[in-house]
């Protein structure tokens, strides 16, 4: 992290502070103020977009925790979202459970799935978790569709808007603050996890698992913890999604959704919370950008039924381009710019001071 001069880190607490310099505090305050003012100036469309962005960033940050730090790939993210959403749907339909029961229940379900599908991968490294999560997705999808057929909700479950006390949460502006709070809480939670012992353990595991084990880090426990926390957070995102949209169905949670979350992590840049958020913004806005692009062509009606295919192709292309040319994502670009300024007039850092 670049320092400003005059800030000396003389205690451990000072060293790991999230916001250190005066400039950082000031910028954070301005940023929060702008975000709080946003819903009062924005149109309904932009408001919905912002809400989608917050929802996506919860899932993206959760995935980043797993992928970028613990070094594991998850392809079943949509399954976890679906699990959270279905928990809400089932609880609301069967027992009419309130908001403050369904969301923690979703977290619990997510955590449980994390334990069940994470356990086999504990002894394994690398790609096996990816495959486990793929299995997770198919299993959840099956359970979801079985429920829908058994209970007759063939087109999906309609969920009434949740209520905090007697106050129904169905105004998009109210949702904005709810989702903003949820996203901010997720980010702060993950930042805290990362700057504590757990974060160091994950980094060690990611870099060299055998050495981490030799150093006394309980590797299986930490890997499982990463997966469980990530799953619980994602399930909560799914629950919020169900409450926000008011509708739950299996079709909404496709493999493509999983891949979109993976793309958020790739495009944003792995190993950084900022990356997850940037990636979430990019992927949320992308379909709308494509739509706008198509609409600006001379005869847009001709392409109307091809929109989803163009979406797929363009999305895949963008992912490929990022992987090829910007493997560190948007955050990598930022770091290169920052390095250039910091090191100037030098271009490189020497290995040791021998002169």
């Amino acid at each position: 992290m670049p320092f400003a001069s005059g800030y000396f880190r003389t205690t451990y607490a000072r060293d790991i502070r999230l916001v250190d310099t005066r400039t950082q505090v000031a910028s954070l305050a301005v940023f929060v103020a702008l975000l709080a003012a946003f819903p009062f100036f924005a149109s309904a469309f932009l408001l919905d977009l912002a809400n989608q962005f917050f929802l996506a960033s919860i899932g993206a940050v959760a995935l980043m925790l797993l992928t970028g730090y613990a070094g594991q790939v998850s392809l079943g993210h949509a399954g976890l979202l679906a699990a959270g959403a279905f928990t809400v749907g089932i609880l609301v339909k069967e027992v009419n459970a309130p908001f403050w029961v369904t969301v923690p229940a979703a977290a619990a379900v997510g955590a449980l799935l994390g334990v069940v599908f994470g356990l086999p991968s504990l002894r394994l490294r690398g790609l096996y978790l990816a495959v486990s999560t793929l299995a997770l997705y198919f299993v959840v999808a099956y359970v979801g569709s079985e429920y829908e057929t058994q209970r007759g909700f063939s087109t999906g479950i309609v969920v009434d808007p949740p209520a905090i006390g007697t106050f129904p949460v169905d105004d998009p502006r109210v949702w904005y603050f709810v989702l903003f709070a949820a996203a901010a809480a997720t980010v702060v939670l993950c930042l805290n996890l990362l700057r504590a012992r757990s974060g160091r353990a994950w980094r060690a595991i990611r870099d060299h698992e055998t050495v981490a084990e030799a150093l006394g880090i309980n590797v299986p426990a930490y890997k499982l913890a990463a997966f469980v926390i990530s799953s619980a957070l994602t399930a909560v995102a799914g629950a919020l999604f169900a409450d926000y949209r008011g509708f739950v169905s299996v079709e909404a949670f496709s493999l493509f959704l999983s891949i979109q979350y993976v793309a958020m992590v790739i495009i944003g840049g792995m190993g950084s919370i900022l990356g997850a958020v940037l990636g979430a913004a990019f992927v949320t806005l992308f379909p709308y950008a494509i739509e706008a692009l198509i609409a600006s062509l001379p005869t847009p009606e001709r392409y109307a039924n091809l929109v989803f295919a163009v979406n797929y192709a363009a999305f895949g292309l963008v992912m490929v381009l990022f992987l090829l040319f910007e493997p560190e994502g948007l955050v990598g670009i930022w770091r290169r710019v920052r390095d250039w300024f910091l090191l100037w007039p030098f271009r490189r850092r020497p290995l040791s001071g021998t002169k």
């Binding site: 086999p120 991968s121 790609l127 990816a130 569709s145 797929y312 992987l323």
Partner: protein
């Protein structure tokens, strides 16, 4: 008897697709998650060659098979080549991205409707009666025989030819292989070409048997557990894994619930991961690789 036939056919499908996963994984440690999409592209190419060579079905088939090989090599040269030297995770993510890209392109070029290459080739795909009372279509029977032939050739190739040994060496230690003069790009391109070639054969035969549409990708994904159950770097394992998964799937669909079709392979996979994660025939060292 019919159940046994079904199991055999499904196992052949999974095995033929699965050897593609094994080839690429064994050579370059990359899990090619776009294999299903590549298989689909190869099958759609049959439509194109069928109309190009209408009246000569065999030529059309062979032409599309060769095109499949070319597509595999091209995918390597254009995309995956740049991933050599990056972390394996990045390469796998690249295949995921490639898969999405291919899905979009397929619909843009050939439309999302169900197609029937068998009709395009003018070939009716008759059914054969088997002793014991089972029936099997000619396409399915060809598929079983093709799988056997492909596996026999691959075994011989990898064990006894210099190029086969080079491929195995590159899979174990790419840097050392390069230091012994082996052109890694050549070896990987070969692996990708062979993988798409065999996968394409599967795709085409499936399409000739039961039509062609986007959901073929799911079959490709279901073959992955088959390869994993056997051990992702073992060809023998792919056969055994395919038999196990196909057997479980057919039996459970028949006796329990048809909706289970897509889930069963993954349930078998989870069971295997808990018991013996590196698969039945996989090398245990695989665990330490990535």
């Amino acid at each position: 008897m019919q159940l046994a036939v079904n199991i055999l056919v499904l196992a052949s499908i999974y095995a033929l697709i699965g050897c593609g996963y094994v080839l690429i994984y064994r050579t370059s440690r990359v899990l090619n998650l776009a294999h299903g999409e590549l298989m689909m592209v190869a099958a759609y190419l049959l439509l194109t060659t069928a109309s190009l060579f209408s009246g000569h079905p065999l030529t059309a088939f062979v032409a599309s098979a060769l095109l499949g090989l070319v597509v595999g090599v091209a995918v390597y040269v254009v995309l995956m080549r740049k991933m050599t030297g990056e972390r394996v995770l990045a390469a796998v993510l690249a295949t995921v991205a490639l898969g999405i890209l291919l899905r979009g392109i397929v619909v843009l070029i050939w439309s999302a409707q169900q197609q029937y290459p068998g009709q395009a080739l003018g070939w009716p795909n008759p059914a054969l009666e088997l002793p014991g009372g089972g029936r099997i279509s000619v396409a399915a029977a060809t598929l079983v025989l093709t799988t056997a032939a492909v596996y026999a050739s691959l075994f011989a190739f990898l064990r006894y030819t210099r190029w086969g040994i080079r491929m195995r060496a590159a899979g174990q230690n790419p840097l050392l292989a390069a230091q012994r003069g082996i052109r890694l790009h050549g070896v990987y391109a070969l692996a990708w070409g062979l993988s798409t070639f065999t996968g394409g054969l599967a795709g085409r035969l499936i399409a000739l048997d039961s039509g062609l549409e986007q959901t073929m990708v799911v079959i490709g994904l279901k073959a992955l557990p088959a390869a994993l159950v056997g051990g992702l770097d073992s060809l023998v394992g792919a056969i055994v894994g395919a038999l196990i998964v196909a057997g479980a799937e057919v039996l459970l669909i028949h006796y329990v619930n048809p909706l289970l079709a897509d889930v069963v392979p993954f349930l078998v996979l989870i069971a295997m991961l808990m018991v013996r994660p590196w698969g039945l025939f996989g090398t245990r060292e695989e665990l330490d690789r990535v």
